[in-house]
Symmetry: C2
Subunit: 345 residues, 2 copies
DNA sequence: GTTGGCACTGTGCCGGTGACAGTGCCAATG
DNA sequence: CATTGGCACTGTCACCGGCACAGTGCCAAC
C-alpha cells in the first residue's frame, strides 16, 4: 500500500463524511449531495471541502454517483467499511427491550419461542427475520416409539429428554408383522432408554445380531433412523417472518424481490449461508450484497449472530443493502441474547 | 328479473365473447379490443357485432374499459361467470401427470408428502400454493409420553396410530416431582392406550378422582392437553410454496404483493378462509377478489378443493384475479386427487 | 340482428425546453 | 497544503404540444 495516498480509514473527517452519506442515504433513499451533508450534519467545513473528500471516497470505491451530476450513494464496499467502523452498538430503547422480555417470557414451548422471536425480530427491524432451531446437544433418550403404518412402513418417534420430539418413517423391503414390531419395540426400549442418541444408534446396530432373525431388518433400520434423526435433527429447521417487509423497499429492490423470495424458500441453502457467515469481534456477522451478480441475493444484506449452546444456532435478518445496520445489528443481538437466556432457563 | 332483457347466460355468442376476453386478457395482460378478438378467435361475426355484445356485457357489469378508448378487461363478476360456465376441466397433459405421480409416490413420510405436493402445485400453476395437513380422523392412541422439563412444566407427546405425532407443554402451578410424573405416566398409559383420543381425554378427567392426590393436578392437565391436541391437532398446520411467483405478476398487482404476503403469514386466517370456501358441483371452490377493499386479498383469487377423508383437508392456490382459472383448477384438482390416493394407501 | 363507415377520444410516444441539483475545477486565502 | 467561494458544465426530471394509434359508440344500410 503506497504511503503517499492517505487511507480513508486514517482520515477522521472522510470517515465522518462516509458515515453521514450512509446514514442520509439509508434514511432518504436518495443520492446525497455535498450541500445537504453540511446542512444536516455539522461537519465544520464547507461544501467544497466535502466535495473534495467525496472525490477521494469515490476513487477508493466507497461511494459512487448514479450519473454525472447527482449525489453519491454508498457502494457495497462503502457499507462494509461503514459497518466495520461501528465500535459500539447503542442498545435498544426500553420499550423495545420490555417488548422482547414480555413476549419471550410468555412463550409456552420451544415452537412458541421460535415463532414469537422471529415475528418480534421482523417487526423490530422491518425486515425479513429468520431463526434457526437450536441444535440438540447430546441429550439422552426418554422414549422411542415404533408405530406400524402398513406392512412396509414403520414410524419411529424419538422423544429425547429435552422434549424436542422428532420422527421418521422407515421403509422395509420385506413386509413386517405387527407382533414383530411390538417385540422389536420392547427390545429397543430396553436397550436405548436413558442413553445418548448417537450412542444408542450404534448400540442398536450391534445388538441386532443377537436378536431373533425376524427383528433384524427392523432393528437395523431403527438404528439408522436414530442416527439420521440425531444428525439432521431440528437444527435443520428454521422459522421465518416478515417477508411482507420486502415489498416496502421500493425502487430497484422491488425487482430483486422475486429471487430473494425464491432463495428464502430454499431453507437448506439459507441455513448453510447462515452457518458459514463469520462473526466479527462484536459477535455479529454482516454479509453485504453478493460477490457475483448471479447470486439471487444481489443487493441484499444479511445480519446474523449465534445464540444458545456455543452460539451454534443462528438468528438473523435479511434485507436490502440499504438498511439501517446499527439498528438491525442491535436488534439481532438483543433477540439472540434473550433467546439464549430463555433457552438456558 | 325483466324478461325483456336477455341474460348473457342464455346468449351463446355473448358467453363466447366473454370467454374470449378473459382468455386473451389472462394471457396478454392487456385490455382486449373488438378487432383483436375476431382475429384470434374465429367467432363468425364482424368486429362491430362484437362491439355491440361488449356493450351489453359492460352494462351487465361483466367487463369494463379502463378508459374511453381502450379495450375491455373482465370484472370480478366477469371472472365469476366465466368460471361458472366452465363445465369440464381438461385434464393435465401426460408429462405433468407423470410428474405428479413420480414425485408423490417417492415421498417418505407425511411431511415429505406435504412438502412435495405444495412445491409441485406451485410450479404447476406458477402461483402460491398452500396445502393443509389432513385432519386426524378419530384415531386410537398408540402411546402417550410425559416428559418432565422442569418442576413446573411437563411435555405431553401424543402418538396416535396414524403416526401424526403431536405435542404440547403443560404448565403446573405447583411444582411436580419426577417420580410423580413417572407414576402418572404409567397410569395414563394404562388408561388410554388403544382408545380414541377424545374418549381418552374424558376418561382421564374422571379417573383423576380415584388417583392419588399428588397425581391429580397433572392428570387433569394431561386430560386437558389431550383434548386440546385432538381439537387443534395438525389440521391447523399447513405448508406453502411459490411466494416468489407473486413477484412475476407485474403491474398493479406488484403493489398488492405486500398485503398478500402479510396475509400469507397469518396462517390461522388463511386456514379459516380455506375451510369456509364452498365447493361447487365440480368439487372446486373459487373465490375471486375480495368483497370489500379493506381486505388484504383485493385483486387476488383463491382456487381450492378438499382431499383426504371427507375432503376435509384443503389444498389450494392463490394468485392475482387475472389468472388462468381452467388450468389452475385442473392442477389443484389433480394434486388433490393424488394426495387423497397417496394418503389412502 | 348484423355490418361497414366514420367521427371521437384517451393514451403513449416523441422532441424540445427550462428549472434544478450537484459536480469538478480553479484561483484565492489562511 | 488544506480549505473555500465562485462558476461553468451536465445529467435528470417535469412539463408541453403534436401526432400516431387503438378502440369505441353511433348510425345508416342491409
Amino acid at each position: 500500500m503506497p504511503t503517499g495516498e492517505e487511507e480513508t480509514v486514517d482520515h477522521p473527517r472522510r470517515q465522518q463524511v462516509l458515515q453521514a452519506i450512509v446514514e442520509d442515504y439509508v434514511h432518504s433513499r436518495e443520492p446525497v449531495g455535498s450541500q445537504a451533508l453540511v446542512e444536516r450534519h455539522h461537519l465544520g467545513v464547507s461544501s467544497a471541502t466535502v466535495r473534495n473528500d467525496m472525490g477521494v471516497l469515490e476513487e477508493e470505491g466507497l461511494i459512487m454517483a448514479p450519473h454525472t451530476s447527482a449525489g453519491r450513494i454508498p457502494t457495497e464496499k462503502g457499507y462494509r467499511t461503514f459497518v466495520d467502523q461501528i465500535t459500539s452498538l447503542k442498545p435498544l430503547n426500553s420499550p423495545q427491550r420490555r417488548a422482547i422480555r414480555t413476549l419471550l417470557e410468555g412463550a409456552e414451548d420451544i415452537d412458541d419461542v421460535m415463532e414469537r422471536s422471529v415475528r418480534l425480530l421482523a417487526q423490530l427491524t422491518h425486515q425479513v427475520a429468520v431463526v434457526q432451531y437450536p441444535v440438540a446437544a447430546v441429550v439422552t433418550i426418554r422414549h422411542v416409539e415404533l408405530v406400524r403404518m402398513d406392512e412396509h412402513h414403520v414410524l419411529v418417534v424419538l422423544i429425547p429428554a429435552d422434549g424436542r420430539v422428532s420422527q421418521r418413517t422407515i421403509a422395509l423391503s420385506a413386509p413386517v408383522d405387527e407382533h414383530v414390531v411390538l417385540d422389536t419395540r420392547a427390545r429397543v426400549l430396553g436397550a436405548v432408554t436413558a442413553r445418548a442418541v448417537l450412542e444408542a444408534a450404534s448400540l442398536l446396530g450391534t445388538s441386532a445380531l443377537q436378536a431373533p432373525v425376524e427383528q433384524r431388518p427392523l432393528l437395523m433400520a431403527v438404528a439408522e433412523a436414530l442416527q439420521a434423526l440425531a444428525a439432521s435433527s431440528s437444527e435443520q429447521r428454521m422459522v421465518m417472518a416478515g417477508t411482507a417487509n420486502l415489498a416496502h423497499s421500493t425502487g430497484d429492490f422491488a425487482r430483486t424481490i422475486g429471487p430473494v423470495l425464491e432463495a428464502l424458500e430454499e431453507q437448506v441453502a439459507l441455513l448453510r449461508l447462515l452457518s458459514e457467515m463469520q462473526q466479527d469481534d462484536r459477535g455479529i456477522a454482516v454479509r453485504i450484497g453478493a460477490d457475483d451478480a448471479s447470486d439471487p441475493l444481489v443487493e441484499t444484506s444479511v445480519v446474523a449472530t449465534g445464540y444458545g449452546p456455543q452460539e451454534s444456532a443462528k438468528v438473523g435478518v435479511l434485507g436490502p443493502t440499504r438498511m439501517d445496520y446499527p439498528h438491525t445489528m442491535a436488534a439481532v443481538r438483543a433477540v439472540a441474547r434473550y433467546l439464549s437466556r430463555v433457552l438456558d432457563a
